[in-house]
């Protein structure tokens, strides 16, 4: 159970071991749709992280105040409020960014990652732990989106954050910024993550076997 973990562990688990995209495969709608450029992906990731952190804080603060019977309706209300806040703030910061993210800002309300963390973690843990969980999961989500966005923009448009990286003769892989490119890139990252995980598991198994032999 999470309570045996330190606050730092709560933070780190979202970044790597329980990364919302690469390990839990949650919130796929924005991951695939808004990761066609690094800037869109990062902005969407940070907007989602903000909503996740704030909703975790409020849900954990009010956990003894909200009866179980009305918890989902209340959590959705809290999440929708912070999404509306993000919506206005992005419009105030940059209209171009707002246009690029389009309807996906409003769709953060139904991102299963956010309601999932409110229900599975924040409603059962202290504000401090929930904040660390929200930070870890939020930054992990933003990192994953950025990984996808960067690869797709580099291959599909030959640029990163709009800055051209290659010579004019570079043939752009247009498919990478189309929806199918989202699936290809996600598959590539999942392959890499699973390979790393298996390699780590094999090493640990080999080390523990060696230790047992030494003891024997």
């Amino acid at each position: 159970m999470a309570s045996s973990m330190s606050s730092t562990d709560e933070f780190i688990k979202g970044l790597w071991n329980e990364n919302p995209v690469f390990v839990q495969v949650l919130g796929m709608c924005p991951v695939l749709a808004v990761s066609n450029t690094a800037m869109n992906a990062l902005a969407m990731g940070l907007a989602t992280a903000f909503v996740l952190i704030m909703s975790n804080i409020v849900v954990s603060s009010l956990r003894s105040f909200i009866p179980k019977q009305v918890r989902i309706a209340t959590y959705i209300l809290i999440i929708a409020t912070f999404v509306t806040v993000v919506d206005y703030v992005i419009q105030a910061v940059s209209l171009d960014l707002y246009k690029a993210l389009g309807a996906f800002i409003s769709l953060i309300v139904v991102n299963c990652l956010i309601l999932g963390r409110a229900e599975a973690f924040a409603s059962k843990n202290t504000v401090a732990r929930s904040t660390m969980d929200g930070l870890g999961m939020g930054i992990g989500f933003a990192f994953a989106l950025f990984c996808l966005g960067a690869v797709r923009e580099i291959l599909g448009n030959g640029s990163l954050f709009g800055a051209s990286l290659f010579h004019d003769s570079f043939e752009k892989w247009v498919v990478m910024i189309l929806p199918s490119g989202g699936f290809f890139t996600l598959a590539g990252w999942l392959l890499l993550f699973n390979w790393l995980k298996q390699r780590k598991a094999k090493r640990e198994a080999t080390t523990s076997l060696g230790l047992r032999k030494e003891v024997a």
Binding site: I66, Q69, A73, T74, L77, T81, T84, N157, V174
Partner: protein, 228 residues
């Protein structure tokens, strides 16, 4: 279930507790949303106005001031004084000497993915569209979005003929889309290979809008002169 189990189960919350939670959270959320809305509204409106202003100067390159007019019931144009909600608006652009450069008009039509909204500049002296800027588009990245970036396509709108007939009732020639490389006449729009639907959509929406607006604007040229 035994009596002892029933006795140890937590008591269900009262209706009051549920009302308290939902109404309490609702009030908190309402206050937060309205407060953020109030704080960000002036900035959002300023951003929108700046973006529109920038677009007007982009499509009317020689203009450096602009004024908003609305189409009145008599078919003429009047300087807008209110917020313009529900009115049909056009934007007149003036140069340093306060001379009328042209009129910018917003237009929209269905593209490949969704509605494309743009603004175009109409020049009285050239009787042509002298610039366009896409304001809103969800066209396919890498393909349909070339309507905003393809230099050869944008070249169409440096001087796209929309002159009116002698009697001033309609355009002399409709704006028509043609295949890439087949443009021979000044009212034709040279399409984009790989973004055919999006480029045809631009030509069609410009034609529809120009058919409606250009004869009206030309008939009422005086409405835009002498006022800033």
């Amino acid at each position: 279930m035994s009596h002892s189990e029933l006795a140890s189960a937590p008591a269900p919350p009262s209706i009051w507790h549920m009302y308290r939670a939902m109404v309490g959270v609702g009030v908190f959320c309402g206050l937060l949303i309205v407060s953020v809305f109030q704080v960000t509204l002036p900035v959002i409106e300023r951003n929108k106005a700046e973006a529109l202003q920038k677009a007007i100067f982009h499509v009317l390159p020689n203009a450096n001031t602009s004024a908003t007019y609305y189409l009145d019931d008599a078919g003429g144009f009047r300087l807008l004084e209110g917020d313009g909600v529900g009115e049909q608006l056009v934007y007149a652009g003036y140069d340093d000497a306060q001379q009328l450069v042209g009129v910018a008009v917003e237009a929209q039509g269905m593209g490949y993915q969704d509605v494309i909204a743009l603004i175009y500049g109409y020049s009285f002296t050239e009787q042509a569209i002298i610039g366009i800027q896409v304001l809103e588009s969800k066209e396919t990245p890498g393909l349909g979005d070339k309507i905003e970036t393809d230099p050869a396509f944008l070249e169409n709108f440096k001087s796209l003929d929309v002159s009116v007939r002698g009697d001033g009732s309609a355009l002399a020639n409709s704006v028509v889309p043609v295949k890439h490389g087949e443009k021979t006449r000044p009212w034709e729009v040279d399409g984009i290979t790989g973004a055919t639907i999006s480029s045809v959509a631009i030509a069609n929406l410009l034609d529809r809008s120009a058919q409606y607006w250009v004869p009206r604007i030309r008939r009422n040229l005086r409405d835009f002169q002498g006022e800033e």
